[in-house]
Symmetry: C2
Subunit: 459 residues, 2 copies
């Protein structure tokens, strides 16, 4: 049941996909096939026509258009003619799309976090019988859905969740030994560089816990991922805010973290301690500096060689893995930076994009693991569910698949009239997560699960 003004039972449904970047390939593919099957119209718009054309050229029934989110007339025209809008645009643009969706009575789906601006549209969306479905990607997205399915199952059995830890990371598949970080960018590089710049909040054994930004990577923990091996996890900014959405207000432990290869976090902490991840302060003269000179600006003047000075300053061995990873990045070398008046984070991203670029034959991998403890019939039980998805190549990535497919599946369900939730939502309701997770399983995105009976509760 759509409320859109131009809807009629005879007119074909129309889906508008905004953004044809790397994360849209599986999404477009899935929806294009469904559009053919159900006779829907489909338009894919992007700031550049080429990526939209490239991703749709094998589907003659899909129209690729140049779409400029800043062009209000075009924005409103395209949105007013659609039934369901998907925004895969950068997060900051969603609100402009969302406001147009409200104006023309259209449903909206995105894989991004609910911003306060988007949240404010809840009353209007509900009143207009519209769904603004946010956080329906991987993380956030699959994490919510897969966790909620387990949480509601435990509750349904009469159990009570007392601990919930959830980890997710986009990594490179282990194929080559040439990269001592065992890491390359498989997603937005900026998000990786500015990670951990706020205080981390979580709850552990009933105690609130706070980690100051500059200690987040120092406090990383080792996690054993089922059927995969050991990884490191650092805490996400706010693990407390989902307690209410998940119905876990009494949970004793709740922590959401990001996974990295072993050794990554202590090495990244070296960059943090040096000040190289700062995204606020602009550094003068970086245009004509070498990376080595730039790193020197974060140390006092010294007669020691830079390498020895860093090791001494940070109290690490000059031949430690951390120092070797630092050297491998090239930031102790004489290469020119070539970015004028940049922040440290911009410079770091600039050099990392060269070093951490997936080559065409390299594959990425998505790892997600939930760890539940719950009480059932007087026993404490532990349940672990984990997801491992491998990419096909550096274009058909596991990241694109796991971010894009949940959005596409939810859009398909919405176009079919199979989702009744309205207002600004995240996918924590069974009428969304059940059919989406079922379809994702059919598409090869499958969680494994194991449970261990641990110990009797002390009376």
């Amino acid at each position: 049941m759509f409320s859109s003004s131009n809807e009629s039972s005879s007119a074909p449904k129309k889906v508008l996909v905004l953004g044809a970047g790397r994360s849209s390939i599986y999404l477009i593919d899935y929806l294009a096939k469904k559009a053919l099957e159900f006779g829907w119209q489909m338009i894919v718009g992007d700031m550049a026509l080429e990526p939209a054309r490239k991703k749709t050229e094998i589907y003659p029934h899909v129209q690729a258009i140049l779409f400029d989110v800043f062009d209000q007339k075009q924005r409103e025209k395209q949105i007013s003619q659609a039934d369901v809008v998907i925004s895969m645009l950068p997060t900051v643009y969603h609100i402009h799309v969302a406001r147009a969706c409200m104006r023309f009575n259209k449903h909206l789906l995105t894989a991004s976090y609910v911003s306060s601006e988007i949240r404010e549209l809840n009353i209007e969306a509900t009143h207009k019988n519209l769904l603004v479905l946010m956080e329906i990607g991987l993380d956030p997205g699959i994490d919510h859905m897969s966790a909620m399915r387990v949480i509601n199952r435990i509750k349904g059995e009469g159990g009570k969740v007392i601990s919930y830890k959830s980890y997710c990371g986009g990594l490179m598949d282990r194929q080559s030994d040439d990269n001592p970080w065992n890491y390359k960018f498989t997603w937005n590089p900026r998000n990786v560089v500015v990670a951990g710049q706020g205080m981390v909040k979580y709850i552990e054994s009933g105690q609130y816990k706070y980690i100051p930004a500059h200690q987040v990577f120092a406090r990383a923990e080792q996690i054993d991922v089922h059927n995969f091996g050991k990884l490191e996890a650092y805490g996400n900014r706010d693990s407390l805010s989902y307690r209410e959405a998940y119905g876990l207000n009494d949970v004793k432990t709740m922590l959401r973290g990001t996974l990295r290869p072993l050794g990554f976090c202590p090495s990244w902490q070296v960059l943090v301690r040096l000040g190289l991840t700062d995204s606020v302060h602009r550094i003068e003269n970086t245009g004509s500096m070498t990376y080595r000179d730039w790193v020197k600006t974060f140390l006092s003047e010294s007669d020691l060689p830079l390498e020895a000075q860093i090791a001494s300053y940070l109290g690490i061995d000059e031949n430690s893995e951390e120092m070797q990873r630092l050297k491998w990045l090239g930031i102790l070398g004489e290469e020119q930076i070539g970015l004028p008046n940049a922040t440290p984070a911009e410079i770091l991203q600039h050099v990392l994009e060269k070093r951490w670029k997936l080559s065409p034959e390299e594959k990425d991998i998505i790892v997600m693991q939930h760890e539940f403890e719950y009480e059932l019939n007087g026993e404490i039980k532990q349940l672990v569910t984990s997801l491992i998805v491998r990419g096909e190549d550096n274009f058909h990535t596991a990241m694109a698949k796991t971010v894009g497919l949940p959005v596409a599946v939810a859009a398909r369900l919405l176009l079919e009239g199979k989702i009744q939730e309205r207002g600004v939502q995240i996918p924590v309701h069974p009428d969304i997560y059940d059919p989406v997770l079922d379809e994702l399983e059919a598409l090869g995105i499958v969680f494994e699960e194991y449970e261990v009976v641990r110990q009797p509760v002390q009376a």
Copy 2:
């Protein structure tokens, strides 16, 4: 030559002092005596009538009033009737006073840093022949004036300043051994607690240097203050911005720092590393927490006693001076915090205000030192000037004297028509700093100076 509208050669001059807090005692005293001598009218206004009355009761010719900066009518009435306005109000209120001064053509003096809002008044002030004299306290204030007198003298002799380091601190006079920090608050506690929360910028040997906020206290250096002894100094936020105002655009080294007792900075760094100085994030439930529980929220769950856990986490000895100072603060004890929903910095300030409170018999001390290197006739010379001012008691503090008297002296000179600078200014011009420093010397605020010939310049 005043441009104020109600000025006539016969009417008595009128000075309005806003703010009768701790820092105003010497200022009011000095101006009250001058007002009597020159036949000026003087009004002292404060949000509370009592402090204004108390500081003016021995001067029947001075009027104490209740002054509410938020009461526009009163604000404009009082300011419109004055010739010179002094604002010793909290920094954020200066702009409201300054705008009224512009509107009614009045001069303004404050001891605070020039904000961007105040800077924007420069054209209007210049056009209206008004002086807005900012940064005419101790630091900023006496530091600018005493440095500029030396810098201009060196230039006048044909020399070139190549290095300028300046340090200032408000400390407690060493009288008792009961405080392992050798420190108590002699000034705004909040400024002490949130110090070092931005990146520090300076220049050393021609190289820009940046210290990330979380390393500022770790990078403190030991300074030997002439006729005083050793202190620690941590870098102030931006040492670069005064290069232009000081006429030192080619200086190779420029650093401004804050002085603390030996051992203070590494101990404060422990608080920083724990996350206890964060002034942004509010902590839930702090109203019912003990200090010990609060500190625990910044550490992971552990079976170790808290003291051992902190020592292990930070890599310091459990019996180290840092740990002893931490324990002395009482933040590892079971006392209730009693501040609901507070930031770590607010909680830390709350406990420090109890521990670091000057008792009536205790005295404060102001220490300032400038270190210059300059080239003259082919020689590199070093010049050190230093200032030590001791307080009389915990009311007649060295801080109140050195902050208030420069403002008062400059206001007196302005009322006498002896300062010709106009616009938004800081005291770097000889027609301000020369007469102010001369008068401060007569009032006992005297710099000592010594010079050492070091080494010939290598040709």
